[in-house]
C-alpha cells in the first residue's frame, strides 16, 4: 500500500484579477522506502500541490477545489487544522529551497531543533537536546555541541541545509518532502546533500518526495519521476523509462534542453585580444580586517574570436575577474592589455570612449534593465551616446537589433516588467551588442532562467558570437553549460587560476584535483 496516494487534486488561487488554476486534476503516489521526484518548470504547480496537501497554502487566496491525498489511511484534505498540525512535523517533514532564510535568525540552532520534539513528543528539554546533538552529528555537522548554541548566520548555506535535514528527521517522520533542496547550493555541496538524503532514506526506511526543476539532478537518486507542466501531470515512470523513451513532447523538450555535447574547437589562431598580467582586485572591509582577495595574481590570455569559459564556485572571484576586465571595479594591481592598449591605465574620458569596445551581459534579467525605460530607450541609449548612428537611422538600427536577438518589433514600446525572463535577457543582449563591441563578458547569463529557455539563449549567444566575430568570456558555475559553449576553459578557486586549456583536454584529463572534484559533482553524468 503506497505511503501517500494523491488522486485528482486540484487547487486554484482567487486573486483580485481573476482565479487561476494552479493544480489541475493531479494524481501520483509515493511508495515507502522509495524516492519519488516531481519535475517541472516554475509555475508548473509542483510545489503548490505538496503545500496544499499539508495546509501550508494560506486559505484566502488559495482554495482546494477537489481530490484526495491519502496518507496512512487518512485523507489529509479532510482533516481539521489541529489534526493536520499533529501530522506535520511528526509523520511528514519538509525541507525548503533557500537555506539562508529558512532558519529563524533570532533563535539559537539548538532551540529551533528541539521544538518539534518538545511539542509532539512532549520530551523534556535535556533529552531533546541530546537527541538533537546526535542528529546533527548524523547529518555531518563537525562540532554538534558548538552548533547547538550557535546562531544561523554563523553557518554556510550547505551547513544550514544539513541542519534543516536534521530538524526534519528529528521526529522520525514516515515521509520527507524536499522542495528544491539543492538549487541554491554550489555544485560540489549539491552533490554531498543529495547523497546525504539518499543515504538517510535508505538507513531510515522513509519515503521521500523530491521536487526539482533539474532533470539531471533528479536522475541520479530518484526511483520514480513525475513530470508536471502548467498544473497537469504529463508523464510518470522510472528514470530509465523517462530517459530512454519519453512519450510526452514536453518531457522530450526537457531532455533536449539538458546541456550536452562538446564544442568542437575549430582551429583558432592563437592571436590574443586580451592579455591579463598578475591582475589583483582586493576589497578592504572598513573594520581594518584583512582585505578580501577576490582576484589574486591572475595571468590569462583571451584569444580573438574564441569563447573562454570561466568556471568556479560562488566566492571563487570569477565575476570579480569579469568586472575587473571591464573596469567596473577598482583594480588593486597588475595590467590588462586590450588589443595593444593598456586598458588598466585608462582614466576618465579616454576610458569612457574605450568602453564601447567591451560590453557585459548580467545574470538577473529582472535587475539588469531599468524598469522605468522602454525597450526603445534602453537600446537607443548606447547608440546615441557613442553616436554610432545618426538621428534618422536610429529606428532602423533598433529594428535590426531586435531582429538579431529574436524580439518582435511590436514590443518596442513596452517596459521590462511586461516581458518574461528569457525575453528580458534578449533585450540585455541587444543592448550589449548595440555598440558593436569586440569583447563581451557574460556573467552567468542563463543560470536564472528555466531549463528550456536556457537552451534557446545559449544557442542565440553561440550564433551571435559567430555572426559578429565576437570574443566572449562566459562565466558560469555549471560545467555542463560551459562544456556546450566554450572553446577553452579556465577554472578559478579562491581567487586563483588553477587550470586552463581546451574544453576537451580539461574534461578528459583534468590536471588540477579541484577540477576533478568539480567534474565528479556534475549531476546526471551517469545517465547520459
Amino acid at each position: 500500500m503506497s505511503l501517500l496516494k494523491v488522486d485528482h487534486l486540484s487547487v486554484s488561487f482567487v486573486t483580485r484579477n481573476g482565479t487561476n488554476q494552479a493544480v489541475d486534476d493531479v494524481s501520483f503516489a509515493v511508495e515507502p522506502r522509495q524516492i519519488t521526484a516531481i519535475i517541472g518548470e516554475s509555475g508548473s504547480g509542483k510545489s503548490v500541490s505538496c503545500y496544499a496537501m499539508l495546509g501550508l497554502v494560506p486559505s484566502p487566496p488559495g482554495r482546494i477545489d477537489g481530490g484526495s491525498a491519502v496518507f496512512q489511511g487518512q485523507d489529509l484534505l479532510s482533516l481539521s487544522e489541529s489534526e493536520l498540525r499533529a501530522i506535520r512535523g511528526r509523520d511528514i517533514a519538509m525541507i525548503f529551497q533557500d537555506p539562508m532564510t529558512c532558519l529563524n535568525p533570532f533563535m539559537r540552532i539548538g532551540d529551533q531543533l528541539i521544538e518539534p520534539l518538545t511539542l509532539h513528543r512532549g520530551l523534556d528539554k535535556k533529552s531533546a537536546q541530546a537527541r538533537a546533538t546526535e542528529l546533527l552529528d548524523e547529518v555531518g555537522i563537525r562540532d554538534p555541541q558548538g552548533a547547538m548554541r550557535a546562531f544561523p548566520h554563523e553557518f554556510s548555506g550547505g551547513m544550514r541545509q544539513r541542519v534543516m535535514i536534521a530538524m526534519a528527521l528529528i521526529n522520525e517522520p514516515k515521509l520527507l518532502i524536499a522542495d528544491e533542496p539543492t538549487t541554491a547550493l554550489d555544485v560540489t555541496i549539491q552533490a554531498q546533500i543529495l547523497k546525504l538524503i539518499a543515504d538517510l532514506q535508505q538507513k531510515r526506511d522513509i519515503g521521500v518526495l523530491l521536487i526539482s526543476h533539474d532533470l539531471a539532478v533528479v536522475s541520479d537518486i530518484a526511483d520514480q519521476i513525475v513530470v508536471m507542466e502548467q498544473g497537469k501531470v504529463v508523464e510518470q515512470g522510472s528514470p530509465q523509462a523517462i530517459f530512454d523513451n519519453a512519450q510526452h513532447p514536453y518531457t522530450q523538450k526537457l531532455l533536449a534542453a539538458i546541456p550536452s555535447g562538446q564544442r568542437t574547437a575549430d582551429a583558432v589562431a592563437a592571436d590574443p585580444l586580451i592579455r591579463i598580467h598578475q591582475l589583483k582586485t582586493w576589497f578592504t572591509s572598513n573594520e581594518g580586517a584583512a582585505p578580501v582577495k577576490a582576484v589574486d595574481d591572475v595571468s590569462l590570455e583571451i584569444h580573438r574570436g574564441e569563447v573562454l569559459g570561466l568556471v568556479g564556485e560562488s566566492g571563487s572571484g570569477k565575476s570579480t575577474l569579469g568586472r575587473s576586465l571591464l573596469r567596473l571595479v577598482p583594480l588593486t594591481g597588475g595590467q590588462i592589455d586590450f588589443d595593444g592598449t593598456t586598458l588598466s591605465a585608462l582614466q576618465g574620458k579616454t576610458l569612457k570612449q574605450f568602453r564601447h569596445r567591451m560590453q557585459m551581459i548580467f545574470q538577473d534579467p529582472y535587475a539588469s534593465l531599468n524598469p522605468r525605460m522602454t525597450v526603445y530607450d534602453t537600446l537607443a541609449e548606447p547608440l546615441l551616446l557613442h553616436n554610432l548612428v545618426s538621428k534618422g537611422g536610429l529606428d532602423q538600427a533598433i529594428r535590426a537589433l531586435m531582429d538579431n536577438v529574436g524580439l518582435a518589433q511590436a514590443f518596442v514600446r513596452k517596459y521590462p516588467h511586461e516581458f518574461s525572463g528569457g525575453q528580458r535577457q534578449r533585450i540585455a543582449i541587444g543592448r550589449a551588442l548595440a555598440t558593436r563591441p569586440e569583447f563581451i563578458v557574460a556573467d552567468e547569463p542563463v543560470s536564472a532562467l528555466d531549463v528550456t529557455i536556457q537552451a534557446q539563449i545559449l544557442d542565440l549567444l553561440a550564433e551571435l558570437t559567430k555572426e559578429y566575430g565576437l570574443t566572449m568570456l562566459f562565466i558560469s558555475h555549471d560545467l555542463a553549460v560551459i562544456r556546450q559553449i566554450a572553446d577553452r576553459i579556465a577554472v578559478m578557486y579562491h581567487g586563483k587560476l588553477v587550470e586552463e586549456g581546451p574544453t576537451a583536454q580539461v574534461f578528459d584529463s583534468p590536471s588540477a584535483d579541484y577540477t576533478r572534484s568539480l567534474l565528479a559533482a556534475i549531476p546526471g553524468v551517469h545517465a547520459a
Partner: protein, 312 residues
C-alpha cells in the same frame, strides 16, 4: 560591550558641546535682557545686577566661566528665581516630566503593540482596518487639540476626571498621559504592524508552521521578536518627541514639568535656565538614542558580535 558604548559616548560629546555653544551665543543675541521690567530699571541697579551674574564680563570670558561651572555639574543660578539654582529647579521639574513621559510611553507601547500585532494577523480585513483607522486618528489629532477636547468632554461636560494639576487630586494623571501617549500609540501601532507583516512573510515562519507549531506559538515564539525591533529602534527618537509634546500637555493641564520651564525661560531671557534645560534635555535625548540603538542591535544576533568585543 564597553568598547561599543565608549565609542558612542565619545561621538555624543561633540554633539552636546555644539549644542551648548550654539545655545549660549544664540540666547545672548536675543534683544532684551533678563532684567528688563515694565518699570524701567535704574542704570546703576542694572549694572549691579549684571555684575552679580557675571554678565558684565566680556562674552568669551562668560562662556569659559560657564563651561567651568558646567564641568562641576553646576548649571548656575536662575535669574528669574533668585533664591534657586537651575539644578534645583530642573530636578524639581524632572520627576514630573519623566513620570508623564513614562505613563505616556506605557500607554503608547501597550495599546500600540497590541493593536499592531492584532492587525497584522489578518491583513486587509476588518480586524486590520479598525485598529489602523483608530491609529490614524491618533496621528491626525495633535496633542494640543486632543487635550482640550478631552478636557471639554471628560472634564467639563461629564465631569469625571480632574483637568489640572499633577498628583494633588487622584486621577489627574489620566488625561495628560492619554493626550501625550495617543500620538505615539498610533505610530507604534503602524510600526509594529509593518514589522510583523514583514517577518510573517519570511521563509522561517513557513518552516515553523511546517513543524506543526500552533499559530499563537508561531507568532509569539518566532515572529514577535523580529517584528518589534523597529518599534524599539523608534523609542529613542520618540523620547525627543515626548519632550516636545510635554511642552504643550504641561501648558494645557497645568503640570509643573520641565517643558513649561523651558518655554517660560526662553520668554524671560533666563540665560542659565535656558542653557541648563537645553544641556539637560539634549543629554537625555543622546542617552536615549544610544540606549534604543544598543537594545535594537543587541536583539539582532547578527549584530550582537559587536558587543562581545569582536573586531568592531
Amino acid at each position: 560591550m564597553l568598547r561599543f558604548l565608549l565609542v558612542r559616548i565619545l561621538q555624543a560629546l561633540p554633539v552636546i558641546f555644539v549644542v551648548i555653544t550654539a545655545t549660549f551665543f544664540l540666547v545672548r543675541s536675543a534683544p532684551g535682557g533678563p532684567f528688563d521690567q515694565e518699570k524701567v530699571v535704574i542704570p546703576e541697579v542694572r549694572a549691579a545686577l549684571e555684575a552679580q551674574y557675571r554678565l558684565d564680563l566680556p562674552l568669551h570670558e562668560q562662556y569659559f566661566a560657564y563651561l567651568g561651572d558646567l564641568a562641576q555639574g553646576d548649571l548656575g543660578p536662575s535669574f528669574k528665581y533668585p533664591g534657586r539654582s537651575v539644578n534645583e529647579i530642573l530636578f524639581a521639574g524632572l520627576p514630573v516630566t519623566a513620570e508623564l513621559g513614562l505613563y505616556a510611553l506605557m500607554i503608547a507601547l501597550v495599546i500600540g503593540v497590541a493593536a499592531g500585532v492584532f492587525a497584522s494577523l489578518k491583513p486587509n480585513t476588518a480586524q486590520d482596518y479598525i485598529p489602523m483607522s483608530l491609529a490614524m486618528i491618533g496621528i491626525c489629532m495633535p496633542s494640543f487639540l486632543l487635550g482640550p477636547l478631552l478636557v471639554l468632554i471628560f472634564g467639563i461636560w461629564l465631569d469625571w476626571l480632574p483637568i489640572t494639576g499633577w498628583g494633588d487630586i487622584p486621577g489627574d494623571k489620566i488625561l495628560p498621559a492619554i493626550t501625550l501617549g495617543s500620538a505615539y500609540a498610533a505610530y507604534i501601532a503602524r510600526l509594529s504592524r509593518a514589522g510583523m507583516l514583514e517577518i510573517l512573510s519570511q521563509d522561517y515562519i513557513r518552516t515553523a508552521r511546517a513543524k506543526g507549531l500552533p499559530e499563537w506559538r508561531v507568532v509569539t515564539q518566532h515572529a514577535l521578536r523580529g517584528g518589534l525591533i523597529p518599534v524599539i529602534a523608534f523609542l529613542g527618537p520618540a523620547f525627543a518627541g515626548l519632550l516636545a509634546g510635554s511642552f504643550v500637555v504641561e501648558t494645557i493641564f497645568q503640570i509643573p514639568g520641565l517643558g513649561r520651564f523651558y518655554v517660560q525661560a526662553a520668554f524671560n531671557r533666563d540665560y542659565t535656565m535656558i542653557l541648563g534645560t537645553t544641556v539637560f534635555l539634549s543629554t537625555l535625548i543622546v542617552f536615549f538614542n544610544l540606549v534604543s540603538d544598543v537594545v535594537a542591535a543587541w536583539l539582532n544576533p547578527r549584530l550582537r558580535h559587536q558587543f562581545r568585543g569582536g573586531n568592531g
